[in-house]
Symmetry: C2
């Protein structure tokens, strides 16, 4: 889970999250006291968090949805980056750059290593991310759909039955765009967002409550609140154990690499 000061879905676009809030200060102290070695940061204004954790010799991975934000994070001293494409779950940013573009831009332009986030569920995706220059992949939605994931089985079944077209972007009007599973509440929130005459955030707030969203994972009523899901839900068709999933991904990645390379072996080599 990214280290920021927010509910699973941030419901208050203004003011921005405050790095000096009591909850975040406590979280940082626990991380330092427990000697956590690697922390992922995300969101705006990570400077103070990064500074404090770096002073405690923590390795920092920062997640970002644009190259501009990645470069700012590098200046702040992060050790590596998580490049998060438009296909991802949750906060997609406001520029909608897909991972095919974003990972290549990262390879071309950034001087630190990066992993790929958003859109990954299998070994073919891993092989593709590596080809684009990433050092690995980051999976959220896919791990929600494993036997071990501490969420209600009905949520996992819902992911298995979903299509890649079953997500929606909400809160763009408030520059806080989030990709959510397109359930009833999400559709209602979108209607309010589109039709509100005032543009007051308070009109949509009840529909995007993070508290109700968390309840979904406990009670299994997938329409009880909003919950995040990436477009990758269209690629997920079963609920394996984490071990089964990782073994399968490793095998698929190797097969994809070997297939890809073999497509070329038959071609004439002389031109190179």
């Amino acid at each position: 889970m990214p280290l920021n000061d927010q509910e699973p879905l941030r419901c208050e676009p203004h003011p921005p999250p405050c790095a000096s809030s009591p909850r975040l200060r406590r979280l940082r102290q626990v991380i330092i006291d427990e000697g956590i070695k690697i922390v992922e940061t995300a969101g705006n204004n990570p400077g103070p968090v990064i500074k404090q954790l770096k002073a405690a010799n923590t390795t920092i991975l920062h997640k970002c949805t644009t190259i501009r934000h990645a470069k700012s994070a590098i200046k702040l001293g992060v050790d590596f980056l998580s490049i998060d494409g438009f296909e991802c779950a949750g906060h997609v940013g406001e520029h909608d750059i897909t991972n095919f573009i974003l990972l290549s831009r990262a390879r071309q332009d950034l001087k630190v290593p990066f992993i790929a986030s958003g859109g990954f569920a299998d070994g073919q995706g891993l092989a593709a991310a590596l080809a684009l220059g990433a050092e690995g992949i980051n999976m959220g939605t896919r791990f929600m759909c494993t036997l071990e994931a501490p969420i209600h089985h009905k949520v996992k079944e819902t992911i298995v039955n979903a299509q890649e077209t079953d997500t929606a972007l909400v809160l763009r009007r408030w520059k806080n765009t989030s990709r959510l599973f397109a359930n009833k509440v999400t559709q209602e929130a979108l209607k309010v967002e589109k039709e509100s005459k005032t543009g007051e955030f308070s009109e949509i707030a009840p529909f995007v409550s993070g508290k109700r969203g968390r309840e979904v994972f406990l009670n299994g009523d997938v329409d009880f609140g909003v919950w995040t899901a990436g477009q990758v839900i269209g690629l997920i068709h079963d609920i394996p154990t984490c071990a089964q999933l990782l073994t399968r991904i490793e095998k698929e990645a190797l097969q994809a690499m070997d297939r890809t390379r073999s497509l070329y072996s038959d071609a004439p080599q002389s031109k190179l």
Copy 2:
């Protein structure tokens, strides 16, 4: 160029393009008379075109932005598909599924071979598309930025100087969404689209004129009209010859494949 009955940017969302229009009938006849072997179709209602061309033994490649459309095209008898992700130039469709998702869905679900369109400019992208299951890539924006491309040099220079964030989606309100270079006219069109009280297409039509867009390529005034560009403009940094570009892509793809495979060679193999 896709075989349909439209200007480079389709300016009339209603009625849909008519497969029996005189211009399209003439185009089809020329294709048949000249013995063209492979044709790319795109857009709605390709059935009649596909039927006539298949009867003339033409191989049909159909471009689509959703798996649902791909399946319809397969039923109509197309030979292979071009899977076109949200990052592409021009008509992106209305579902905004990125190529990382769409290509994997195609691999999982379609029984015909496919190539990848939208987001490709280099060999790393080619290697990634192959890993996801594609048989090759389709490049539009990248070829615009070659020495041989018959468009004004200033357009090519504009692409070289552009960022991946310099495109915009226009005409979503009319379910005819197009990704355009975010120049002055595109921004004006977006303003009209957002603010129009009537929602009449005639209000935006002058801003998205395909005729003025074509003029851009002749006169080099990149703000004279709207013109399509993919997010891939952020990955394009030079104006090579086509031969130089293809040789480079081949080399980059092989290097990417070899790097990717070598990342794995050091890991223990026994688990597989």
